[in-house]
């Protein structure tokens, strides 16, 4: 298996298209990312960044295309892949404490009726310590600040001990201490040869925090090492308005179900 991991890229997206009802959100997105790097998915609001991540994780339906994790389907690589959802998706009033949230990261490894073992607890403890949240382990999640909540989520992903981490806006609305902690975590994970893919919204920090950038605006604009693709031209293409004709016609195609009427590829 270990050899397998090395020979295949951690994530390959091929011809991925997604829609919301009939509205196209992403059209024919393909890219491949290298191992042991941090990758940012960047684009304007409504460009489909989070949707792309959800499509990759199989949380939302895709209409075309496929995604490979280390050359395999997601179901075969579940334990190697950790997902960090957006903070806003959660009811932070839910009656649960920090430790129990982090232990959730171990449930992918547990059978139907199994409860976390002592080893699982040690892993969760280490994850909390790595994010400097160990002192908060007994706190109710409702009593945490935004940055602390984010760190709990990252600790939970860390407890999964995955090789590929997919994160939806981990830097959104966090304090300076958390931002630092996340960067430290990234470096540590990269040193272990692990790969991090983040939806990121802050153009000021993208070059500094990430090795690689994937520019998205309803379609793939560019993907590659930050120093190569972080150009004025790519920024203009990504942020310079939508391709309205592409969107309109693709919507028309979905409405008429033209994509199913064709019998040739």
């Amino acid at each position: 298996m270990a050899n397998n991991v090395n020979s295949h890229p951690p994530l390959t997206v091929e011809h991925l298209s997604m829609r919301y009802h009939h509205k196209p959100v992403l059209t024919d997105v393909s890219f491949q990312i290298p191992e042991g790097k941090s990758i940012a998915i960047v684009g304007p609001n409504g460009a489909g960044k989070s949707t792309l991540l959800k499509g990759i994780m199989g949380l939302e339906k895709t209409i075309e295309g496929q995604v490979k994790f280390f050359g395999e389907s997601l179901d075969k690589k579940r334990l190697s892949t950790a997902y960090v959802p957006q903070r806003e998706e959660i009811d932070w009033d839910f009656p649960i404490n920090v430790m129990d949230v982090v232990l959730m990261g171990r449930h992918g490894h547990l059978k139907l009726w199994q409860r976390p073992s002592e080893i699982d607890r040690q892993i969760a403890e280490q994850a909390l310590k790595d994010l400097k949240m160990w002192n908060f382990r007994d706190r109710q999640i409702s009593q945490l600040s935004g940055g602390q909540q984010q760190r709990v989520f990252l600790a939970r992903a860390l407890a999964q001990q995955a090789n590929l981490y997919l994160m939806d806006e981990p830097f959104a609305g966090v304090d300076v201490a958390t931002e630092k902690a996340i960067i430290e975590l990234f470096n540590k994970l990269k040193d272990q040869g692990k790969t991090i893919v983040c939806v990121h919204h802050d153009l000021n920090t993208v070059g500094e925090y990430f090795d690689w950038i994937v520019f998205i605006n309803a379609r793939l604009v560019a993907a590659g090492p930050a120093e190569e693709v972080l150009t004025k031209e790519n920024l203009n293409k990504t942020y310079g308005g939508r391709l309205s004709l592409l969107n309109d016609l693709t919507e028309e195609m979905y409405r008429t179900q033209l994509n199913k009427a064709h019998d040739t590829e």
């Binding site: 199989g58 579940r78 009811d91 009656p95 649960i96 959730m104 449930h107 009726w113």
Partner: protein, 449 residues
């Protein structure tokens, strides 16, 4: 049913005694059954509540009605198992309809719920009146499942009830962590490869089963309250989900005991409404008197805060009076204070009295003056007030006129560490935007009040 003739009621008290002496074994069984139902319904209802699917129980209970009637029509029997299976079947059809409609049509979840609920209920009522017009034996009592009647339950009913509720409690205990994970973060559960659909089906089955076995006790119409009120009440008492579940099970059991008893004392009374009313009373008690989140506690806390702010404001005013005074005057009277800060006379007098009692100020014929402790506290408040003004002025670029009002509020809640952080971030920590000096921290002023 014959067994109940033993309890010819002479007075309410005698009946109550007879009830608790369990002269009739059936009473004991019904009591145990209703306690089990109260517990299992509260526990499974908790998950519907936490997943914000509270109304699902209501819809499922209503959806069970036509199933019961159809089972009776088809098999002409009141066998509990047949009734149960009929109810489960139609409840499940209702469940799938509620699930299917929003996914495949333009109908939104709330509308799907309402449509399904009323359609099934209407269908059930139609069948019920049809049956009542028929010439068949043992149809009497079918209408009892609308509002529930504990006294009408048979041994066989209760056996089934016990099996089902115990199954529910064991299943929840077994899958507790997984069910909690799904309730907390469903998409995440999917990403770690959990069989979310399987667990949701289990959850649905458990809800359907507890609703269906509860029909005879609580009735179709009010079943939802038995699922939800206990958890809603228990939520006020704790933040730990396992404590909350245990507590709501207890609340469910208590209400079951009360309502079953009433049902025996006054056989004309339906059990369901009594159960719901007693649960609601427990809910109201929790709402007002829960130690952390109760309304009473919140009210008291707010009152305390108001009191604290009023006291601190007077201390600050006295500090400013001392500061502005040229002639080294230390004592000031009420009109001096009111000249600087508008406070209703009555509340000013009350606050001054409290401050005297706390020995933060002392009163004499010349007026009021700050004691050593009072001066320390007033200095600290003034310092925090002015540091915050400076911060807003320097970093947020607010004008001196804007900052005062903000600082009036913030001064009461700043902590020692925040104060130090402020001090460190300010380039000028010597005077505020109005030109007043920021008092230095005295040796002990950072400590306790």
């Amino acid at each position: 049913m014959e067994a109940f003739t033993l309890l010819e009621p002479t007075s309410t008290w005698d009946t109550l005694l007879a009830f608790w002496r369990f002269e009739d074994m059936n009473v004991l069984w019904v009591l145990i059954g209703s306690i089990l139902l109260g517990m299992s319904a509260s526990v499974i209802g908790a998950f519907a509540f936490l997943r914000k699917r509270s109304l699902i129980g209501d819809a499922l209970a209503h959806a069970a009605l036509p199933g019961v009637m159809m089972a009776f029509l088809l098999f002409q029997t009141r066998d509990p198992l047949i009734m149960f299976l009929g109810a489960v079947t139609s409840s499940f059809i209702g469940f799938f309809l509620i699930d299917w409609l929003p996914k495949n049509t333009k109908i939104k979840p709330d509308a799907a719920l309402a449509i399904t609920l009323s359609f099934f209920f209407a269908l059930g009522l139609m069948l019920l009146s049809f049956i009542q017009g028929m010439d068949v034996s043992n149809k009497s009592g079918l209408d009892k499942i609308l509002f529930g009647q504990a006294a009408a339950m048979t041994q066989a009913d209760i056996k089934l009830l016990a099996y089902v509720t115990i199954t529910i409690l064991i299943t929840v205990a077994l899958f507790f962590q997984k069910l909690r994970l799904i309730a907390f973060n469903r998409t995440y559960a999917k990403t770690i490869g959990m069989a979310v659909n399987f667990y949701e089906l289990v959850l649905a089955l458990l809800i359907v089963m507890s609703v269906v076995v509860g029909l005879q006790l609580v009735g179709v119409v009010l079943m939802a309250a038995v699922l939800l009120t206990p958890i809603a009440a228990a939520r006020f008492w704790s933040n730990e989900l396992n404590h909350i579940l245990i507590l709501s099970a207890l609340l469910g059991a208590v209400s079951a005991i009360i309502s079953t008893q009433v049902s025996y004392l006054a056989p004309a009374m339906p059990t369901g409404p009594w159960m719901v009313v007693s649960l609601s009373l427990l809910f109201i008690l929790s709402l007002f008197f829960a130690p952390q989140k109760g309304l009473l506690k919140r009210h008291l806390e707010h009152k305390q805060l108001r009191q604290k702010v009023a006291e601190e404001n007077i201390l600050r005013t006295l500090y400013k009076l001392v500061e502005r005074n040229q002639q080294d005057q230390q004592d000031f009277n009420q009109s001096d204070i009111q000249a600087l800060r508008s406070v209703p006379t009555e509340s000013l007098q009350k606050t001054l009295k409290t401050l005297c009692k706390k020995q933060l100020i002392e009163s004499s014929a010349r007026g009021f003056r700050l004691t050593k402790n009072g001066l320390e506290l007033a200095t600290q408040l003034t310092r925090r007030h002015r540091l915050w003004e400076n911060y807003l002025n320097e970093q947020a670029e607010l004008t001196p006129e804007q900052v005062h009002k903000q600082a009036e509020r913030i001064e009461h809640i700043l902590t020692d560490s925040q104060e130090q952080q402020l001090q460190a971030e300010l380039t000028n920590a010597d005077s505020d935007p109005h030109g007043n000096p920021i008092p230095r921290q005295t040796a002990t002023s950072g400590g306790k009040r």
